[in-house]
Amino acid sequence: MTVDNVVALRPSEPARGWLSLARRRRAWLASLLLILFPLIVPFKALAAQILVYGLYALGLNLLFGYLGLLSFGHAALFGVGAYFCGIAVATFGLPWWAGIGLGIFGGTLAAALIGALAIRTRGIYFAMVTLALAQCVYYLFYEEAGWTGGESGLTGVDVKTIDLFGVSFNFVDPLVHYYVICAFVVAALFALSRILASPFGAVIEGVRENEARARASGIDVSRVRLVTFIVSGAFCGLAGALLSLNLSIVSIETLNYETSGLAVMMCLLGGMGTFFGPFVGAALFLLLENIVSLYTVHWQLIVGAAFVACVLFFPRGVWGTLMQGLEK
């Protein structure tokens, strides 16, 4: 599916002045916003959740927003990352950093396997094949209860202190907890910014803009898709690992198709193909969910209506529309 099928993007004049500077410094600015975020939001635990889901949506955004390929199976990449990290820490008693490494590895591995099979299909078929394969992963993890805890999930992913560069951080303190997770998200932001600015980033844009033209110029479009899918998997794997450390448990719902849909929704809400959009989308969704569910059990109705309104009135997402407005 090309991006234009979802949102008609018109070419716009190049940004000038401070906005162009802001674009070049996007990783710094995004990091700054995330560092200031818990000072504005009173719920520290929710803020950490927003970081994790924002990073997960960022992983999908690379594939969906930047390359123009819609996946409905990203829960598998996120969930496998979460379980790999969780099993490493809870079952094998490995240190937290090994859990994170294995989480990234898990997301990458799942992406390589799913991607290699799904990449042959196009458009809506790609979305369906990724969905089906992700459901296979769900049942595999559901059945292997000895490893994963099955229906009741994996418990005991307890990390009390994080030792980094000789300093010991108290991971139980909500604010410290947030900033430890934030450090990884910031690293991911810089990595993504670097990838987007690289020659490969140019190729991604080219394939999204005009696949046929890219192919005629000598670009192996299928390989580009697969590699982007795998890189996306690395980001989602990291997000999954952080999720398991954040919550101390991994629930089987992490692998469910609803989690896949969640990332798509967050991307659309925030603005797909924008650098910071996924975090805005994650923040909007999770804040809405948490606030509305205080007042009514039918929170999904309200959140759903808000989502529809956002898509109708902010076709480029909230962040995307804001950025577009600034350019004028």
């Binding site: 070419p11 670097r194 190729v203 005009n210 033209r213 005629a216």
Partner: protein, 250 residues
């Protein structure tokens, strides 16, 4: 004379289901000249063209580039060998600026999966792109998104994108389609000037337009090779005349 031949097809045919779009066409294309493929609508020109640049795979027969059998190779490999096509309909990267359009095409020959260096560090590609923009007359449109360029400018940019790959063989599918007479003249002049350094194959159904600039012509009709030769031979060829008179209006 075989050394002069850059591209050759032997008996290539293409069937779409039961429809025979092309019935065994054998032809040769000489190096560093303009060869035009002409014929009335539905003659199989575009099918033949797409077989030459790897977009389509022939149902039978072979395509040889520089003496090598390249039948059935994927399209991006054709580009790496130096066979680059441009499109009948305008296809650029609309949201990228003119310079990036060309730079990306130049980059495709060098690296695809380099994720860590800034793209600005590949200086020679930036210079190549600037040189190409100069060549196709778009130097003053450097930073403008391609989607906002005028139609004629987009067509010129397309040729620029193709040139950025430094092709040995440039295939152009109706490069002046939808252009004003003024724009058409400019683009034809550009194409003629490019032919000094590389082989060009043009697909065109307006015979008049290409008679003057081509060294050789290939005439297709109903998916078959009707005639092949120098413009004067084609002009005098009775069968060609009859076919074109039967399709008056071009």
């Amino acid at each position: 004379m075989t050394a002069d031949v850059i591209l050759r097809t032997r008996d290539v045919a293409k069937r779409f289901g039961k429809f025979n779009a092309l019935n065994g066409v054998s032809a040769e294309f000489r190096r560093n000249v303009i060869t035009s493929i002409i014929g009335p609508n539905g003659a199989g020109k575009s099918t033949y063209f797409n077989l030459l640049c790897g977009v389509l795979r022939p149902s039978s027969g072979t395509v040889e580039f520089e003496g090598r059998d390249v039948t059935g190779m994927p399209q991006h490999r054709f580009a790496h060998m130096g066979v680059v096509k441009s499109y009948q309909i305008t296809t650029v990267f609309p949201q990228l600026c003119a310079h990036e359009n060309v730079r990306l095409a130049a980059q495709a020959r060098v690296t695809t999966f380099d994720m860590w260096r800034p793209r600005a560090s590949l200086k020679s590609l930036i210079e190549t792109a600037d040189r190409v923009l100069e060549r196709v007359g778009l130097a003053d449109r450097r930073d403008r998104p391609a989607g906002l360029l005028a139609h004629g400018e987009q067509r010129a940019l397309e040729i620029g994108i193709a040139l950025a790959s430094e092709p040995k063989l440039l295939l152009l599918d109706e490069p002046t389609a939808g252009m004003s007479p003024q724009e058409t003249r400019e683009v034809m002049d550009l194409i003629v000037s490019l032919a000094a350094e590389r082989t060009i194959i043009l697909v065109e159904h307006k015979m008049k337009l290409v008679l003057g600039v081509s060294e050789r012509l290939i005439v297709l009709h109903h998916g078959e090779l009707l005639a092949e030769g120098a413009p004067d031979d084609i002009r005098r060829n009775e069968t060609v005349k009859r076919v074109y008179l039967g399709h008056r209006g071009h």
